[in-house]
Amino acid sequence: MLNLVLRRLGTMVLIMLVVALLLFLINEGDPRLIARSVLGPYAQDEQLDAWIMQHGYDRSLFVRYFEWISRVLTGDLGDSIIYKRPVNEIFWDRLGNTAILAGVTFLVMVVVALVLGVLAGMKEGSTQDRVISVFSIATTSVPEYASAVILAGVFVYWLAVLPGTSSMTGGFSVVELILPVLVLTLYGFGYIARMTRASMAEVMTTPYIRTAVLKGLPYRHIIMKHALRNALIAPFTVIMLQINWLLSGVVVTEFAFGYKGFGALLLEAALRRDIFLIEACGLAAVFVAVFTQTVGDLGYTYLNPRIRFK
């Protein structure tokens, strides 16, 4: 097991290094482009040259890459071009905001998805199963940008019970969190619910469940004690993947509701070519993706002893 953990961590570091190299080459390959991004469209050629010299961008790419890597490892992410502040001052706040949105969504989504998935999988083919399946497929099929407009139309324009934006300008507000959480949950829960349902349905047909039923054990006891743990192995990986999606895949929702999160920051950085911000956001997004995948793999191995010995 220790070997497995070490091997997975080593792979993770290697992926991060490759991604870092790609990010660096894409963003900092052309020093003139960096100078133009920093100094703006009206800067003259001499100003660009002076900036390149002054900031050491006339040195070789190789030297600059290792210098950049060492700076990143010590926590120096550079200065944002659009915010005119160190990236560190903006980045962690935005990451924190997304963590709040993602955390709440994750809790709501996983609980709803597991409950509905188990309910549907318990009696495959029943009315209960069909209703839940149709509902979860329908909501997952509607992209966030559409559900954001539909939900805003209902709750903001028609019923006028919820705020239309979630920028938290007056401080943290639970009410402002409702619509983005709802949009993300509606989109994301169906996938987990469907996986849980399929897994549950499969477990419910296994001989040991049939034996338990024939033994006369209470149905609730069979579900909770015997079926659930085995049924949760497959959805576990999907759930771990959702963490990654909740960090970097919430761009549309954050954009639609003006939520000041990591996704919106990444989008803004990309749109305005804020290279140091793009690099920081890119590294963070890839780290979370690789990290959650690694945890998912390890967790799956823990839950399913058969994997451990392969």
């Binding site: 133009r36 005119k84 705020p163 920028s167 300008t169 003006g258 070519r273």
Partner: protein, 573 residues
């Protein structure tokens, strides 16, 4: 009727003694102007604009117009008494705000507008009136302008506002190192140096005394007062960019009534009234700008849920949605805002006149206006002078001519067809992509394939003056000469077409030097015709702009350039 006599009588009647001492209302062209209004050769609005340009106070000009047209002064309807206090909340992008001289977005200037102020102010009715300058005079040849500054105005750091501040600010604009677009705007004060760069001419700005500045121009310029209200022309303190960094958000020293209490780029800006305003009452205690991102749906949703009182603008596709909100007023302004599908004439194949003319000949302006912008505007004529500009001269209407386009294309060596690409960033909304798509269809019968390179808004601003063919949005400017000088005069920073035509420059110089609006129209007709014939900017339409505010916001009117003028705004409840 002897209008000169009326002018002399009424100018004294309506002009304060100190204003008469300054020469207000006594420009030698004013009697002619009065004669033109009295005989119906110019309209009331043109008279007001011209009179203000020549230094007549707004009060005098409006009263004169009433006398000359024989209409009784119109009393405004009994308005409710403004209530002081409150926070006006506005949804608008909050961008980095460093040097006002280098502003490239109106949004930046809107936050700065209540701290740093302008010499003049163009009102929502497109008439320019005194502001930090209480009056001005122009020489008969329009080459010398004297601006008299309001006295008793102080900066927020306690220094008095003087002519030194004006000289410092204007000299910074004229220094190419500042990188200000004002270098193009004030072309009459600019020359080409030995290094080939444009810079201010010697002695362009002359401090006469503490409250008088003289501008010595190399050529006549009509729109000096109007230019002083362009969004990168706010007056900054004499130490700005000299004794301390040219960064307004770090050094918010201004003459306005508000100070910057909070400033968080991409999040919010909070302005608080910090002192009495030298110009009179200022009703609001605070103005808070909230950044709800790029998505205009989010801005309107914030208005719908009453999280904000106003939005920066309403995109045309959401007008019907906003109209349904019972607590919201929607404001429309007819403007000279537009988008030009401009060629960079230095790039092949657009360096070929016949190719440009062929492409322009395919355009059906009315169809693009109707389908892309729901008809909310008026058709343009490929010369960037709008019917609401006083010097607009009507040319024969343009007609789509596909056969002519084919012939021109064949003559240009593209008889087998031509494939071109237009860069578009939807900088003013998705209607820009719609306009490109409709134009694509209009070009197809002539054998021209138009590919639309849809790019993110901010990326478009990186290539707007480089792309061989691009769709660029231009904001409203009060005079046609202003925008032509900014965009099409050879070598100016915002000349995105790389257009360099000495005949056009000479014609524009001539128009800018002509005060008589009817004479100027004739000269503008020459400029318009040159631009139209050279086919550098297929320009589909002029668009109206819309703003929306909660009904509790009183005293607000939409400015054609979306400038925020909240000096009379107050909140009811």
């Amino acid at each position: 009727m002897n209008f000169r006599k009326i002018l002399n009588r009424d100018a004294r009647r309506y002009t304060l003694p100190q204003e008469r001492r300054l020469g207000a209302g006594t420009h030698s062209y004013l009697p002619e102007l009065c004669d033109q209004l009295g005989t119906g050769r110019i309209g009331r609005r043109d008279f007001l604009r011209q009179a203000a340009l020549l230094g007549m106070t707004a009060t005098t000009a409006y009263a004169m117009a009433d006398v000359l047209t024989g209409t009784a002064p119109v009393r405004p309807a009994a308005a409710a008494t403004p209530k002081p206090g409150g926070t006006l909340k506005v949804s608008m992008r909050v961008q980095e705000m460093t040097d006002p001289a280098a502003f490239d977005w109106v949004e930046k200037s809107n936050v700065a507008r209540f701290m740093v102020e302008h010499l003049t102010r163009t009102r929502a009715d497109n008439v320019t009136v005194p502001y930090l300058a209480k009056g001005w005079e122009a020489s008969d040849d329009l080459k010398t302008w004297v601006f008299h500054l309001s006295e008793g105005v102080t900066w927020s750091n306690g220094d008095a506002f003087t002519a030194e501040d004006v000289a410092h600010t204007v000299n910074r604009w004229l220094d190419p190192a500042t990188g200000s677009s004002n270098l193009g705007l004030f072309g009459a004060m600019v020359e080409v140096g030995s290094d080939g760069k444009k810079r201010g001419i010697a002695n362009a700005v002359e401090v006469v005394d503490a409250h008088t500045v003289r501008f010595n121009l190399k050529q006549a310029a009509l729109a000096m007062p109007e230019n002083f209200y362009n969004y990168p022309t706010a007056m900054t303190h004499r130490g700005f960019g000299k004794d301390y960094d040219a960064d307004l958000s770090a050094n918010p020293i201004g003459t306005g009534p508000m100070s910057l209490a909070e400033y968080d780029v991409g999040e919010r800006a909070l302005l608080k009234r910090s002192r009495d305003w030298w110009a009179g009452d200022f009703h609001l205690d605070e103005i808070a700008y909230f950044d709800h991102g790029e998505d205009t749906n989010a801005h309107i949703a914030a208005l719908a849920s009453q999280q904000v009182d106003m939005v920066y603008r309403v995109p045309n596709n959401l007008i019907e949605t906003v109209k349904r909100l019972p607590f919201v007023d929607i404001h429309e302004a007819t403007t000279a805002q537009t988008g030009v599908m401009r060629f960079r004439v230095s790039h092949a194949p657009f360096d070929n006149l016949k190719v440009r003319q062929a492409i322009a000949a395919c355009m059906d302006h009315q169809e693009i206006l109707d389908k892309a912008f729901k008809g909310l505007g008026q058709v343009a004529e490929n010369h960037h002078v709008c019917p609401i500009h006083p010097e607009y001269a009507a040319l024969p209407p343009l007609k789509r001519d596909v056969e002519l386009a084919k012939k021109l294309l064949a003559e240009a060596g593209h008889g087998d067809g031509l494939t071109i690409e237009i860069a578009n960033g939807d900088t003013e909304g998705p209607w820009m992509t719609d306009a490109c798509a409709i134009f694509k269809n209009q070009l197809a019968p002539a054998g021209i394939t138009l590919n639309i390179n849809k790019m993110p808004t901010n990326q478009y601003w990186e290539v707007w003056d480089k792309a061989p063919f691009g769709y660029t949005a231009w904001t409203h400017r009060p005079l046609g000469t202003m925008v032509l000088g900014l965009a099409y005069r050879a070598g100016v920073p915002w000349n995105e077409t790389a257009y360099d035509n000495p005949d056009f420059d000479a014609a524009l110089n001539d128009a800018e030097a002509t005060l008589d609006v009817n004479e100027r129209k004739k000269k503008m007709a020459v400029c318009e015709k040159i631009l139209q014939d050279d086919a550098i900017i297929p320009q589909p339409f002029w668009r109206s702009v819309f703003k929306a505010s909660n009904k509790r916001v009183k005293g607000f009117s939409t400015h054609p350039t979306l400038y925020h003028q909240f000096h009379s705004v107050w909140l009811d409840g």
